[in-house]
Symmetry: C2
Subunit: 980 residues, 2 copies
């Protein structure tokens, strides 16, 4: 039997919440029934399976009645899809898209349309998860290693990671790397005053909690030799914030002599013409890869890059893709040094990076693949030449270019009055930067045309003076670089064939689709990752992301040009306040972990303001996500672990004891709710009371908010502040490891401390420093969450939560006869996710990883493996999966249980069976030789439907240990492949 459509007919009666259709005008393109997987028939069947007569009974068995919200969500009825896009377009068009010469790490770029359509607008790319299952993720792993190769090539440093969140936090990571390298013993970090102001501000925020002293200095006049004792590192900007290209070689030597490490914030495009940081001796290079083909997007998302010397590689923050081999000895990519990344060294952590910017790193890598070395160089040269023409014209106009002879793309122009020049520019819809009252900054980019340069020259023209001829200027342009000759780049880059083979659109298109074909994503099957909420990322939510009105806005554009953004952001804030029950929101943190950090810093600021600076103990349950203690450590808190009982719940006694014990210094508790075991703990409200009683604040990790919306609220439960992973609950796609957004919401007493920003005003009256480089983090993906909430409406959101809970309980109930389900409540119910125990089989030779890999043979992504409990699988179906899909997954798990039984029974070999050999790649399955003790078909087609529809792993099981022993994090050369 093949090619069968297994599903029986079912009428189209879906979970309705809008007016009944007989109401004449009710629109039919309502979204909630499209977002929620199960229809009403399925819901009935599922309720029956879980033994509840209706939804309300199911809920009452699942959620403590004490925390149920008294009122329905005060969010209007869902808006139909078509109407929503019309409304958002009207809002978006209130943004004014001016020509931006503001620079400061953000410039306009030409996004190659083949990349725009086939990566950024393609669900097969954007719905991928972080590539923890390398066998079904070789495509994006290859692309990320291309990114790493590009960064190492351009920076001249040997090791690069697969992206960080933004340049500001990357600089903070660099600072902490130098501090760690100095064994946390030297606390002076010197920053050139000519670094971008938002970078300096991010650094300072981060330095505070570690008691690192950040000194901003005129770097060439700083006496490093006088600070040998304390100096851990230095941050330079290359070219610097005024656009000047300095020769840092001697300076680097003297910093090294003083025992400091040199971190260089830089620009990949400039490095196409300039000597690389690695070549002049830098230890670390970092920056924003945005201008490599990622829209400005009002500040993000973009991929920050980070490269370092080999000696620092085990201190590398973020994810690192490496080359290893699979069970057949074939080259295969996978995340390297996972032990470092996943089990963050908690209390000693200086970095909490989890979600990063994979999708944007892929776009930037593809940009390099598309252009190749000569193409990148030509773009850089053209930008530079145009800047030189502009400089010549400004000179001709009688003005002084302060960094003449030493610029790449940015000029600092001395003027009588910056504000009047800026005003003049505005009349031409041009944005310039006021460096100070008498200096104006102009940064050129790839999109600039001759007409643009002519316009700029008019802005800088003296009243009544004759116009300068741009053609004359251009033809007089000397063919030399306008920076010191010794800074010219002579070394090659992007020499790998990958960057030299895909320059026609056809080749590029095929390369993108080839990589895509290796990667499982939500377009294939459910990705039931516990704690990750892999739900529908609906097209209507995604469409606005690539509108020019959102994409082409500089984060520091004058406020009156960003009304569209501001309306959208305010509406989103308001909705998030209603959903959480809180009073204030910061949209700045650009990942969940950044949200944690921001929230804890806000708590700290609150205590400080009350003279309680000594309050620095943070209670964290043992079951918490690794980012929790890492964030607490980064906030300068002392982490005290609270036990859990054997049901996975907070050990209330232990909590009380520790709260009391540390009462004088108690700062906060971090609680995840439902817990990371997927449980609605009964004791949660009491726990909050205990903490409050001892003067502490309650931080709620909102990763599991998808189980709460409309049914309960963090504020009602008793929390003071929480973050929300918009890339989980609010439909921002995971992008294969980012982008994400982790805004925080808090009660009014904390709101004054919400994070500020040095360039654009954000946050409370007593704002802490910025958490992210951009004022609203990755602002351009916020329309996704805005749209999700508006499309669903209050009732739709609530129905969605119900469906998420029902889906999980349905699966748990189907699997319970076959596997032990860890941690259910007294009614036998789980929350929105549940844990399947594999530990009973471990002694028999079957571990969680074997089940995870075998699921790939069924075309499925594994659930979350070995977290929060080793050798378990945590399953979170989300509301978007239909019963048909849940059943497919359950059926697979049940077949696998039978396969496990055969091992347990001893009827198949412990060392050589369909589980331990999983996944079975195509090559394995059709090798001429087949000496496995089971058949090819049972390996390949364990269920009949797989003959019609199956996703195939492109390599067999990847050897992690081998890769970590032989670390290799750039594209392998063709010769290396040949050796296989």
């Amino acid at each position: 039997v093949a090619n069968v459509r297994l599903s029986a007919p079912k009428p189209f009666v879906r979970l309705q919440h809008t007016k009944p259709v007989h109401q004449v005008f009710a629109p039919l393109d309502t979204f909630a029934p499209r977002h929620i997987g199960p229809d009403s028939n399925e819901i009935q069947a599922m309720l029956k399976q879980v033994g509840a007569k209706d939804m309300e009974e199911m809920l009452s068995k699942t959620i403590p009645s004490s925390i149920r919200s008294p009122k329905p969500l005060a969010i209007k009825e869902g808006i139909p899809e078509r109407e929503l896009l019309g409304r958002l377009k009207a809002i978006a068009s209130k943004n004014k898209v001016h020509r931006s010469y503001l620079g400061q790490g953000y410039t306009d770029t030409v996004v190659p349309n083949v990349i725009l359509r086939n990566v950024m607008e393609n669900p097969a790319w954007y719905t991928q998860y972080t590539p923890y299952q390398p066998e079904i993720a070789q495509g994006r792993l290859e692309s990320l290693i291309n990114f790493q190769t590009m960064v190492t090539d351009m920076t001249g440093l040997p090791i690069a990671n697969a992206s960080l969140l933004d340049e500001g936090t990357a600089a903070a990571e660099a600072m902490l790397m130098t501090w760690q390298a100095a064994r946390r013993k030297k606390n002076l970090f010197v920053v050139d005053e000519n670094c971008h102001s938002q970078t300096i501000a991010c650094l300072k925020t981060r330095a505070e909690s570690f008691n690192i002293e950040v000194v901003t200095a005129d770097i060439f006049n700083y006496k490093f030799d006088e600070h040998k004792k304390d100096l851990c590192g230095v941050l330079l900007q290359y070219p610097n914030a005024c656009g000047t290209v300095e020769d840092y070689e001697a300076l680097t030597s003297s910093i090294h002599s003083a025992g400091g490490q040199v971190a260089v914030a830089t620009d990949l495009m400039a490095l196409a013409l300039l000597k690389s940081p690695g070549e002049f001796g830098a230890d670390i290079a970092l920056g924003n890869a945005q201008r490599f083909g990622v829209p400005l997007g009002f500040g993000g998302p973009h991929a920050a890059f980070f490269a370092c010397k080999d000696e620092h590689k085990r201190r590398m923050p973020g994810r690192l893709v490496g080359v290893s081999k699979d069970a057949n000895g074939k080259h295969a990519y996978r995340l390297a040094l996972q032990t470092r990344e996943q089990h963050i060294r908690r209390e000693k952590a200086t970095s909490n990076i989890c979600t990063a910017q994979a999708l944007l790193a892929n776009m930037s890598a593809m940009y390099a693949v598309y252009h190749g070395p000569a193409g990148i160089k030509a773009i850089a040269q053209r930008i530079h030449n145009m800047t030189a023409v502009l400089a010549a014209g400004i000179r001709e106009n009688g003005l002084v270019v302060e960094n003449d002879g030493a610029f790449f793309d940015t000029l600092s122009v001395k003027v009588d009055s910056s504000s009047s020049i800026l005003q003049k520019a505005l009349t031409k819809n041009i944005n310039l930067r006021a460096i100070n009252g008498q200096t104006v900054g102009v940064t050129l980019d790839e999109t600039v045309t001759q007409a643009d340069v002519a316009d700029l020259l008019e802005v800088f023209a003296q009243e009544g003076a004759p116009a300068v001829s741009i053609d004359t200027l251009a033809s007089a342009l000397p063919q030399v670089n306008s920076f010191p000759i010794q800074l010219q780049r002579t070394s090659a880059y992007l020499e790998h064939p990958i960057f030299n083979s895909h320059h026609s659109e056809t080749e590029m298109l095929r390369y993108i689709h080839h990589l895509q074909s290796k990667d499982l994503s939500l377009v294939h099957s459910m990705i039931p990752l516990g704690s990750c909420t892999m739900k529908l990322n609906a097209t209507t939510e995604m469409i606005p992301i690539t509108w020019a009105e959102f994409g082409n806005i500089h984060p520091f554009a004058p406020v009156d040009q960003t009304d569209g953004y501001r309306i959208m952001l305010q509406e989103l804030e308001k909705d998030l306040e209603e959903i959480t029950g809180f009073d204030g929101v910061s949209l700045q943190p650009n990942s969940g972990a950044q949200g944690e950090y921001a929230g804890l810093r806000v708590i700290r600021a609150y205590h400080d303001a009350r003279g309680d600076s000594h309050r620095n103990v943070c209670l964290i349950p043992i079951s918490a996500h690794g980012t929790n203690p890492a964030s607490a450590a980064m906030a300068g808190m002392d982490v005290v672990i609270v036990k859990c009982d054997e049901d996975g719940n907070l050990d209330m006694e232990d909590l009380k004891t520790k709260a009391e014990k540390y009462k004088d210094n108690l700062s906060a508790v971090m609680i995840t709710y439902p817990s990371t075991f997927g449980m609605f703990e009964r004791g949660v409200a009491e726990a909050c009371e205990v903490i409050h009683k001892y003067g502490g604040q309650v931080y709620m990790d909102g990763a599991n908010l998808n189980a709460q919306i409309g049914l309960t609220k963090p504020a009602e439960i008793g929390a003071d502040v929480c973050h929300m992973n918009l890339h989980k609950t609010f439909c921002i796609p995971h992008g294969g490891g980012g982008p994400g957004m982790g805004p925080i919401a808090c009660k009014s007493h904390l709101a004054p401390y919400l994070p500020g920003h040095p360039v654009i005003t954000t946050g409370g009256q007593n704002a802490i420093g910025p958490i992210s480089a951009a004022p609203f983090g990755s602002a351009s993906i916020l329309p996704i969450s805005w749209a999700y909430i508006k499309l669903m409406g209050g009732q739709g959101l609530t129905n969605s939560t119900k469906a998420a809970l029902l889906n999980a309980n349905y699966m748990a109930s189907r699997l319970a006869p076959h596997y032990e389900i860890l941690y259910t409540n007294e009614n036998g119910m789980c929350g929105h996710e549940f844990i399947v125990d594999i530990r009973p089989f471990v002694d028999h030779g079957v571990a969680a990883i074997d089940v995870a890999k075998r699921l790939q043979d069924f075309g499925f992504h594994s659930p979350t493996m070995s977290w929060p409990v080793t050798n378990t699988l945590m399953i979170e179906p989300t509301e978007s999966e239909s019963k048909v899909e849940l059943d497919r997954f359950c059926d697979a798990m049940i077949v696998i249980r039978k396969e496990i039984q055969a091992v347990l029974d001893g009827s198949v070999s412990k060392e050589n069976n369909v589980l331990v050999n999983a996944p079975h790649s195509l090559e394995t399955l059709m090798a001429d030789e087949w000496n496995k003790p089971y058949s090819r078909e049972s390996a390949a087609y364990p269920m009949p439907y797989l003959r019609e529809k199956k996703f195939w792993p492109s390599v067999s099981r990847v050897d992690d240990a081998y890769g970590d022993r032989n670390l290799m994090c750039t594209c392998p050369s063709p010769e290396e492949y040949m050796d296989q």
Copy 2:
């Protein structure tokens, strides 16, 4: 060795034609180097292989110098991609997108965004070719059979095809079906005067050449029994053009009694509520599926549908997808009755349909899959209810609704003055239709909102009268249909599981991607189909297609609202005139074959105008494409075949003899250039002279224009008129079998006859009747060709032609040592395509089909098979393929040649070898049993790179004969699958 990147580094120096990059301002996102596959290094290597020292030498060996254009193309330098989109946006925004209530077969629709993004905007769908290779096309074949099932369900007739070009030509096909059914002996075809005017006009154009008398009549008062002798058929419109739903049951009986067949032009949405044509006895049903989720697009492209009784199935025009089985006995789809379709019965043809509207049929089918029966019914009911509210309000306003009690979505409203009502509507940006001076038509659709109805009521409000309350109207609305009770639909539709399983967005997304995963397209590898020009369909060209400014315009919108379209169309016309050397262009024909027909009708009109109506002989070379004689027959011409010599060239002696023999009646010759053998025939200019000497006109089939642009021109060669397949030469993607566009260009003496249109003025002063239902055919895809020409510029286009010729000659030269290359010129050169001869192997048991299928095992689509010569393969690489890809293909062909040799040598079995068993599907390859006389790996991985990148056929070789014997053209039921 696996996972190897085989290509060596190569610098990014591509075929340049723009200013050198050192020119400061020259933009770098120039398109030509991205469009053209080979870069300059590759071009050098390829020239060497073909034995030419430079491009010019290659050209001089290929093209007769006598026809080389004296001057370069007068088309400006290519515009960079970003600038082009800006320019087109400015043009597009000159279109005014008003609310359209114009109806007449075109209404607005809500395109589900998941379908928009994942089908219409997805190169994996739009770059597919017609599914002639079913093993690598099961996805779109399934979708097309969904379309057929949907059409049969809704119309109540058992057989439907996989789309026609538009409703007008579908009606013409229906007329001819009735005429053929009457053995061409009855020549009266009666049309209800209440059919859409453009449909009547299309019918009349088509009827002329067959001497069918089309009588427009008041259908209920027509005396059919008085015309028994002549009556072949009748066309009714249901609901009719005024919106009235008539009961045609009795009428149908009386037409049947008079020996006539009944064809019904209808509306799928109305049929959700109305008794189906099949149920009231109709023989044929047809119409436009546009309102099932395809944008208005100023008239197209949309899929027309066509269904008929079983007895007519072998007369079915267009393509028919059927169910058959593969070599393993597994269900498989494929094009049915291909003999009927491919070998068009030439001289007796009444239809020339080749390219149809597959992509749009897929969109409409997906719309039905997404909504399901209840969803479709709800949409229809809502439209109808709102129309009823509007009718009630208009009544309340004191006006008369002429079709009250008998409408679905369209009202005919009696007014004092249509023009003043239309004027009033325009002030609200509303378009209404003037049915006559005192009757206004209003047609509602799925997008209409309560506010829209309120606006309409204001338009129809009497001066000073109190406003009617829309809520009161709505609540008073009786829950009955406003048409005769006996016309209410009681039968079910869309009951198949396919239409009842994919209603959540997640399920829909996965279904689309699942089908996509089975289909090879240009995102995978080259599709070297001779005569089909499968070149890059660049993203920048495709992006504007889904802009609202192009998508949401009704074809009959007031002219002053379509300035944007008109500017774009005029620029395109001008460019096409320059490229062909002609003086006038018609953008109406919406396929190449329609272009042929249009061109021949223009020639006929020219002769008629000169009193030469007797000139009706059309000379056609034996090698011509099947559509050529079919089009000639449809134009009422007698086809006389001209021989070719053994080199594949026109037999000049035979041409002269026949031209002279038929000189008195000579109407035209049809010439394809380069010839369908891919040859630049030397004699072409002389052939044109001969024809002209005898008073004939030269029609050039422009399918091969890609070999001419910038090097020669149809007009310079001597042609009088030609068509251009914009879906070949000018980058409109093939969409899996359409859409396409086949505009014609002609000399000034023919221009007065270019086709007109009854609603919107087009064509010459003495225009022939319309060829298509819409004035500019599938207007909304014309921006693709406009953009291609503007992006490339004259020099870019010319370079492209050169690269196309070089690519073909390079491949021919690489394959020549291994295969016989048919038909090269005296210098051993081919044109833009060439023919590989498989005939020498046929007696040994290897036919062209075996090579074609074996190529699938290499991840390639076969070249054109057995056309124009049986048992040959015709290869056209196009300019967009890089040398790397050409080499991959040649290497595959060379390996296959070795496999053939083994058969020839007798070293492998003739009946059981890797060729005759090809393609090898995944299921075959990993079956437990393997009893083939060769290894699995040699079947699966005949080249090492396939281990890294391969497209897998989803079924094994499909049995065509079985499917034709057991014709089944709707979705097979699950039970049928179970029987396997």
